[in-house]
Symmetry: C2
Subunit: 612 residues, 2 copies
């Protein structure tokens, strides 16, 4: 796949085109516009990240040209002369363009006369071996750590080091897929950051980086960086049954095959979603700070929390906003961990009600009239000391029926390290991301948390919104989740015995906002006919627990149904859909709810099984 970037010298409105160009440099292709080079460039980079090659076309392409085949895109001599880096060396420090492909080499596109500038092709092979400095250092200047450190602002340039190379990434900042966080590394070495964000340990990232090399680091300074310790080395041991999506940070879903065997998920196989290394907190020195109260900041010990406030137990299902993201990826690639159906689990949580604690420390009508949000900060930090953060609306936190807990127990035992030891907040009915673990600070505020995860992540958008057009301010932070269900005992592509009289289908169902699941419909024929499943709302079995009060159904319902195997069926498309107490239903298919972050994936769950 090549991406062709056209437009007037790749200026800010240049269209981004995508189409295969044959390797021999000839192609007849219909180019599709992916977007434009606006000041919001992450989508462009998203595309580039998935491409092994890209090309910069320095002539304007009109809409008409975009829609019709370019008759003879023939890249002639010079095409592969990408090593002639020195030819563009003089443009090196020009930052007049947001996106710049430095190692430009001319080539001719027959029939258009356009000039092509090719980027990373030549460095591809090198990058693959790039466990040592990427650069062929001989011709590059040598810099000291001290010199690099000075380049820590847009004005002075943003320099970083990586494995002995020095890189001027000033122009890359605007197109960094992770946003401004890249500035945290300004003037520093990348190793500790990339150790935290393992997503960088990919070939194409090294390819991109290589583009920006301006020098090499003095040998002594380089050694310091390389020996940086693995911040994940103190992460706790995990159960081998977990399905790991990412090791650093640790993200794993429950094993689907046994997920619904227990109404309460054992802590060891409860899905785990960490953003950073697990902080190891000494319960003796642990302090929970509360800011924004009339009397000033409060600092509680773990013992304060346990002994001064009534202990309440709430059963609540937690679900990651990205649960079932893998189904969205099948429609079109999204950004995020490729969760299947088991980024959801159910547990009991015990601790003090947040409202009890806040009232005890002086929360009153005056503050209630002013404040709108309760922010949470974890003790899990990135390398710069920035904590994971989120917030919830004040009315959820303070409602008698909100059941928001400062939890210190999970399933009757101290919180496990992966689940927030010693204290996490449990916000029943809300997306997992707001249930902040290793809770360090609570802030009562007029404002939402300004954290990345509240402002620029965990939000839903229209299927028509892409990384070029997305405006994170236009959508509310996900809080309550929509109704959800999935089949757990059948897997796509498996088969069942033709001789069986019945098919048994099992799964889970849940809805956000304390809305109780009131019905799960199951179909064996892709949704043409429906059967009503039996619901289980407690560990004792089918509907043995009374319904919780309206709006406080925090725990999932497991469900099961046995349906006669349709005579003569070769294949079954088994489908489930749940209905909650507000009679909201799951959408029928994934494409119409597709969104660039791959969150809120709650279409009917479909499993195709063969009858053999």
């Amino acid at each position: 796949m090549w991406v062709l970037i056209g437009g007037s010298a790749a200026g800010p409105r240049a269209p981004v085109l995508s189409r295969k160009i044959k390797k021999n440099g000839r192609a007849r292709a219909r180019f599709e516009q992916l977007g434009t080079l606006t000041s919001r460039l992450p989508s462009t980079m998203q595309h580039l990240r998935h491409c092994k090659r890209f090309a910069l076309v320095s002539f304007p392409i009109t809409p008409r040209q975009l829609k019709s085949p370019i008759p003879a895109v023939s890249v002639r001599s010079g095409f592969l002369a990408l090593h002639s880096r020195s030819s563009s060396q003089d443009q090196h420090h020009s930052r007049s363009r947001r996106l710049r492909f430095r190692y430009a080499v001319t080539g001719l596109v027959a029939g258009t006369g356009a000039v092509l500038a090719y980027g990373l092709a030549q460095y591809h092979n090198k990058a693959e071996q790039a466990t040592i400095p990427l650069t062929q250092a001989n011709s590059l200047p040598v810099y000291s750590r001290e010199e690099v450190t000075k380049h820590c602002s847009i004005e002075k340039g943003i320099w970083v080091t990586y494995k002995g190379g020095v890189y001027d990434i000033t122009d890359f900042v605007a197109i960094h897929p992770g946003g401004d966080k890249i500035l945290l590394a300004a003037g520093k070495s990348l190793e500790p950051f990339w150790a935290l964000y393992a997503v960088h340990e990919q070939e194409h990232v090294l390819e991109i980086l290589s583009e920006y090399q301006v020098g090499v680091l003095q040998a002594d300074d380089s050694k310091e960086d390389i020996k940086s310790a693995d911040p994940y080395s103190t992460d706790p041991p995990r159960h081998p049954a977990l399905k790991v999506n990412s090791l650093k940070p640790f993200n794993a879903e429950s094993p689907t095959a046994i997920l619904t065997d227990s109404y309460i998920t054992p802590s060891a196989i409860f899905f785990k979603r960490n953003h950073f290394p697990v902080p190891r907190v000494d319960p003796k020195t642990y302090r929970l700070k509360i800011e924004g109260l009339p009397g000033g900041t409060v600092s509680l010990t773990l013992d304060d929390l346990k002994s001064h406030f009534p202990k309440h137990t709430v059963m609540a299902t937690l679900q990651c906003a990205g649960n079932r993201r893998s189904e969205m990826n099948k429609v079109k690639q999204v950004k995020g961990l490729n969760w299947e159906i088991a980024a959801i689990s159910n547990a009991t949580w015990s601790g003090a009600y947040l409202r009890d604690v806040l009232y005890h420390y002086g929360f009153g009508p005056e503050l209630a009239a002013k404040a709108r949000h309760v922010q949470f900060e974890g003790l899990d930090l990135d390398v710069t000391g920035t904590a994971y953060g989120a917030s919830i609306p004040l009315n959820k936190a303070m409602s008698e029926e909100g059941d928001v807990l400062l939890a210190y127990e999970m399933n009757g035992e101290d919180l496990p390290a992966d689940h927030g030891f010693p204290v996490r907040v449990i916000v029943p009915g809300f997306v997992g991301a707001r249930n902040v673990k290793w809770l360090g600070k609570i802030i009562i505020s007029e404002e939402e948390s300004q954290s990345h995860w509240q402002q620029n992540d965990y939000k839903g958008f229209s299927p028509g919104t892409d990384w070029d057009t997305v405006d994170f301010k236009s959508a509310p932070a996900i809080q309550e989740l929509p109704v959800q269900s999935a089949i757990t005992n059948l897997t796509d592509g498996s088969s069942i015995d033709r001789d069986m009289e019945n098919v048994t289908v099992k799964g889970y169902s849940w809805s956000g906002g304390g809305r109780e699941v009131v019905r799960v419909d199951v179909s064996l024929d892709g949704g043409k006919t429906w059967h009503v499943a039996k619901l289980q709302n407690s560990k004792e079995g089918e509907t043995s627990a009374p319904s919780p009060p309206p709006g406080q159904a925090w725990a999932w319902k497991l469900w099961e149904i046995t349906i006669p195997l349709p005579e003569g069926a070769q294949e079954l498309e088994v489908v489930c859909k749940a209905v909650d107490s507000s009679y909201n239903t799951q959408p029928e298919s994934v494409a119409p709810i597709w969104n660039l972050r791959g969150v809120l994936s709650n279409a009917w769950h479909r499993v195709r099984v063969k009858v053999k």
Copy 2:
């Protein structure tokens, strides 16, 4: 359409089959099982109501027979000998079967040897002229009103009179589509009941009734019935723009073309949904009773309500549970008024908070711990004096954020007669049916309202549930409604000018439970590609009002979008779908949410328009 009822002498498990049988009594047909004759028979009757003919097959039909064509269903001599009523006269008072077709005449079905018993065929033509007594009275006994009155229980038989005829409907009670309400007429004349429930004024109802005739009423007694007054004669005048679905009781939707011209719907064109005649209440003698309080029953005057409690104004959209039912009817016939998209409107409501009133009259923690529901009764009564009734959960009624009003004003003026003068309850975010009008009584209770409308109506079921299998206890009463939207400025089958550059699409969007609509997606290509509409959340215009607190978005959002007309398009399938703050979305199509009552119809709204 014939319905064939087969089984062992039409016993309780007999299958009900449906298929055309040719009028000449010969047919080769594949019969489809519609259900079985269980103790829950309303569905059977539902089908019969839509059939001009039905037949009782007195032999068991095996499932295999059902699925294969019956080779030669030939009804021979005797088939039309349905007038020989006397032949079954002796069975007349036998009530051993729940469903009995009395005027049984034998016929032979060749190839099966089954006995067919035919029902109403012969009475069809008579029924069409039946503005005078249905019966050919000569041969029937004459009864006095006094005699009829004695037959008012299952034990003594349930007799009724209609236009001079006397009918023993004992066997019909179990299969009455309207349920037990039929018992209200036991021993009485049907006229005043049918005047209330105009649904009975249909030919097939008279056909069914004719089946049950046992005599004629004494001439003098008959005259009394016929002159019964029209209870709807005091209904208020209505705006001619309303689209009337039913005159008695009055049910009308807003005119779609102008519905979204105003953010606040003028009261005159606000949709109207009455169950009975409009009660004319004298505000001077009006009393609102409250039962279930610690101090006993309270009785308030209108002036008490207005002068003793702070007046609050809440803007809230009301929607009928059956809004957009007509789309479900296109999938398969449902029961209920054939509402299109405008059984929804938005108004401001002013009055006292219900919680203020209840707290004032002694509601306290003791009652809060015990009670679970607040019941409402209207002053609108059926002929027996039974009031319209409904209930809501206590926590909604008492929540500071529930905003439940005892409203005496609509859009700044006294409530109009059609909207509940002098007082109605407004339950923002809940289905219209709970917003009881002409409020006469409030009951704080451990129980839900036991009214028909709370228990056996306004509930949602699986598409696989029919009138044979429905168990109303299995579903919760509809309270909060799911997310909804519809297109108001384009109508199906209309056309737009090919020369126009753009298409403008407008509509409304709303969600129950105070969940704010956060996005409306619009498609011109049936849902393949989507555009995000602009939302209007106040009468002043696009998002000029700040967002309400979470969970208190009671009013709809109007929306609008202008999209370039796709070049060369012959037809557009314009679609809208809304997303609420819990990120619930509308389902894609109607069939998977179809339910026998035709409620909760909130699939994507689709309008096909031609480009000319």
